[in-house]
Symmetry: C2
Subunit: 220 residues, 2 copies
Amino acid sequence: MSHINTIIFDSYGTLFDVHSLSNKLENHFSGKGQKISQTWREKQIEYALLRQIMGNYATFFEITKAALTYAIKKHGEQTNPEQMEELVAAYLNLDVYPEVKGVLSQLGNKQLAIFSNGSHDMLDPLVKNAGITTLFDKIISTNEVKEFKPAPASYHYAMEVLNSQKENTLFVSSNGWDISGAENYGVRTAWINRKRLPVEELNLMPDSVYQDLTGILEWV
Amino acid sequence: MSHINTIIFDSYGTLFDVHSLSNKLENHFSGKGQKISQTWREKQIEYALLRQIMGNYATFFEITKAALTYAIKKHGEQTNPEQMEELVAAYLNLDVYPEVKGVLSQLGNKQLAIFSNGSHDMLDPLVKNAGITTLFDKIISTNEVKEFKPAPASYHYAMEVLNSQKENTLFVSSNGWDISGAENYGVRTAWINRKRLPVEELNLMPDSVYQDLTGILEWV
């Protein structure tokens, strides 16, 4: 488990807790905050996958707004432009998981990057607001190449930007589909299984599985 | 709404009720039949999308088995090969929605086809067991071209097999992502919105929306 000189982190769900949005949603839609939050996230991921397959690209910020619109309607609620703006803005102020800063501070001799489906218009403010910008060497968005993860071309693009080799690179994500995509592409993987879910049944086993980010210290 | 000479039907969820599997699952996993059934279906669709994007093809029957394995594990249950075989076999004996035969019998002067992500090893027995094989001119699987819906290449393949023109073709599906894919490709669409869901927020509006299949008689 040595020779790792580059560590790439997914953002949403891995460094940032997307369900910290539930409380904000609950303020507007009493009793439905958690359900709307869950549908929002599911549709956000689904819409990115569908647009990738249909060859019908939109930025992840646009997709995030569309997914919220769907989620609010699905759960029988209505919204207005001011409320939408406030809710979408919450995506720029997600909570960082509690162990993130401590773990990152122990990895200073590695090249560290964020690699996200989020477009820079949502990703850069998020990282800045969390106060962790300086902990990373690069913040890379799939928007730069307009290929969403888990397309092999998206991971390949990140590797080119980082000038890193597959065998020397650890990709870290809490999202099963993202870990599958990275395994399929060929880098080493650490699945942060925060929700204690089974491994995805795609014949692409993660190289390591941890309950939170502290586990990746084994690799360095 | 005239000039339609070819009508293409999706299978799972559109002609066949996939949640009729819940009862069978309930017999094995008391109190969890519905949950496992829902996860099974969600993962089946997700795995097809992910494999399409990763360029990592497997047949839909293989994907269906993998999705069931995941669903059983996710809900804290275990299984064995005999049980798996019995449960997967239930996919070959799904209930047809009650209005299907009546509607199809009124469309005899049109070219009628099933076009499904299901591979022939699961699709053909299903249609045969339901006793509706002779109602269709063609039964087409995306496996013939190894491109899952909603890839444009998959719909294009079906249109070539049917020798039909986009403006003369109606595509019928209960699955929002499938209707979006057909709209994106360019045929006319009828969304059978059995679950009373909002339209997908992908800027691809269906040409028509009905609560069950009887609505499509408007087109002929």
